[in-house]
Symmetry: C2
Amino acid sequence: MTNLSTQPYKGTRDYYPEDKAIQEYIFNIWKKVVGQYGYREYGTPILEPLEVYTAKSGEELAGEQTYRFTDRGDRTVAIRPEMTPSVSRLVASRRQELAYPARLFSIANFMRYERPQKGREREFWQLNVDLFGAEGLAADAETIQLGDRLLKAFGADSSQYVIKVNDRRLINEVISGYLGVDSSKANSVVKLLDRINKLSPEEFRAQAGDIMGNSDEESIARLLELTEVKAVGDLPSSVKDSTSALYLQSLIAMLNSMGVDSVEFDFTLVRGLDYYTGIVFEVFDKNPENSRSLFGGGRYDGLVGMFGAEPISAVGFAPGYTTTELFLKNWSLLPELNPQSDAYIVSLGDNSIEAFKLADQLRESGISIEVDVTERKLDKQIKAADKKGIAYVIFVGDDEVSTGVYKVKNIKSGDDFTASLEDLRSRLVQ
Amino acid sequence: MTNLSTQPYKGTRDYYPEDKAIQEYIFNIWKKVVGQYGYREYGTPILEPLEVYTAKSGEELAGEQTYRFTDRGDRTVAIRPEMTPSVSRLVASRRQELAYPARLFSIANFMRYERPQKGREREFWQLNVDLFGAEGLAADAETIQLGDRLLKAFGADSSQYVIKVNDRRLINEVISGYLGVDSSKANSVVKLLDRINKLSPEEFRAQAGDIMGNSDEESIARLLELTEVKAVGDLPSSVKDSTSALYLQSLIAMLNSMGVDSVEFDFTLVRGLDYYTGIVFEVFDKNPENSRSLFGGGRYDGLVGMFGAEPISAVGFAPGYTTTELFLKNWSLLPELNPQSDAYIVSLGDNSIEAFKLADQLRESGISIEVDVTERKLDKQIKAADKKGIAYVIFVGDDEVSTGVYKVKNIKSGDDFTASLEDLRSRLVQ
């Protein structure tokens, strides 16, 4: 038999304890912050019927990127590539029972066919934050403020990231009104804006011409100008007094007065998914060497209705684990994390049972204790404690068992001492 | 467009906040207990190459029960049906770097094609506990003790469950020696024992005859007698002094002196998976109406070697989430869990920003606060707080903003009072 590979599946990642400790640190801060905003945790299955994604998520995600297969009951299913349709399904299913605004969060894994690269994996974890049953400035502002707080909770400050905002209503109004694009072509302009950072200025202009008609030079020029606008007040005068532009201006002002000072308007921000209906926002790392997108979200008022319930307004976003981890590493915001047991018990002679009893008594005080269960020689047992990075080694031999006083060695400092059970408790409790 | 179904995928389950709260309660106790034994958390991808399971897990699990498909790169992959091969892969990959005994745990989801029924789901969560690099009594005893502690940590006592133990080495010795079964048929006898609870006594006898030869009445009679043995000391005299029988006797005695008093020998316990090589054990609920298996495990010394590394001895087990939840519910061991925000802020007039500021100030003290962001009428905002089960409603109107003294209503007791920011802090901090 040939040996099996020790590598994880393509584009995925194993989390050894030192990696998992960082993940748990990040997950716990996420849970704490969203909990303080009243968000409650839910969970959904890893598989959903494929049509949940084909209906509204857009072709790229539902078609090319999704892990899909036919199950033994001939159902076409997908490993979830995102959470929004699933959480919308949950809300639709209990539309009457829920109290609104309903704040729901989950931390879950997802899969997409991606070309693996730094910060982008085929299996990825993310926090999913969604607010149902409220629309308007307060709901949108709180959502973006929470995104901001989720970064600040790790010690980040607003010089390290920027929150770009836009509004699908503004985009739609501008495309059909100010640019005069026919409704059949409007979606192509949205998709073109979504790809702007992947195209050269020439490519962007050429594709705009393909969509809008090369003869319509004025509209193309207007579109190019719009892509440079970085403040709502700098929009063309016929646009900046529209309801949706004024809404964005109020939203940004409100966020500033709520302590969110890294928020900026960007007309090119559209976010690819088809289901957005109002504000969209995206957070970018300002690290000059690494200005990747950290996370984004927006308002999607139509998804709950897809499941047959009365529509419910919704706004949400989803910070990815790996991008958050890279952001925190790049800005040196991760603490030292090396969780180890508080002490290691080495047993001598035939004293395993006594070693286990001592371990139990110490665990009752909340102390974490490893017992060396290998029945190896003493020096090998001590070496294992050292390799694990545990400081205290407690010896359990015949003398210790008869006197109740244990020899202890701090193998980091080299100190030896003796201690009773009570001494050990007071010394080892963190 | 027809509406999409709100039901989760067949045999899977949605976790609404009240369900997720129970799950988190159980996960957190699991993490605490295994952490006190020195276990460190890891994570692995949801997909593995199929051959990881076909090699050693046994036909039923790898063949019929596994969710498998071909990915876009033409790889045959499986949604993990169990964790043991994945964690063995991790250990094989870092064989030299790890300090032994290495104690590793994970809490993860798995999928199997199951006929959905109470306590059995197609997507299920379980705790995976594995000890690498130690064999012998102390390692086996600590592992079973930890299984026992994981139940006692929820308040269970040993009258509510039984831990059955056996040893594959004893089974193999008995089948080839005492029963004289040809080695080519030994595995069929093991599989027959594994199915004993699904067969009537007549069916069991008939199938034993098919395997062992109907003319071999003495061996069949011996096998039937063995299935009744409930103590190592009651094994036939030619068996009970074998190395493996004496090992089991010592293990049970050791466990009793370690406070594990619900452990029993059972010769019919084999556990279905092909990779077990030493002790096997399984915990059963003693609820007379519901004596389902809670969890099980055993020693599997050959799996790490499958990945090309030098073999490393291993022993582990995996409590399932759903069976644990049902066990705790049946024995009334679950606490009341209804996590809600500490207070609900209702804003009157144009005071959203002031409401958000107050919420922020209270969150700084660790208080969880929901702001009603709907801009609805007052009574509707209060009704939402009531429906959520939140006791305290804080009003933020023009008066409150100008004086810094807030009207507060406890909508559970009906009490009204006024409070400054400091008063609110001291009243709401848990």
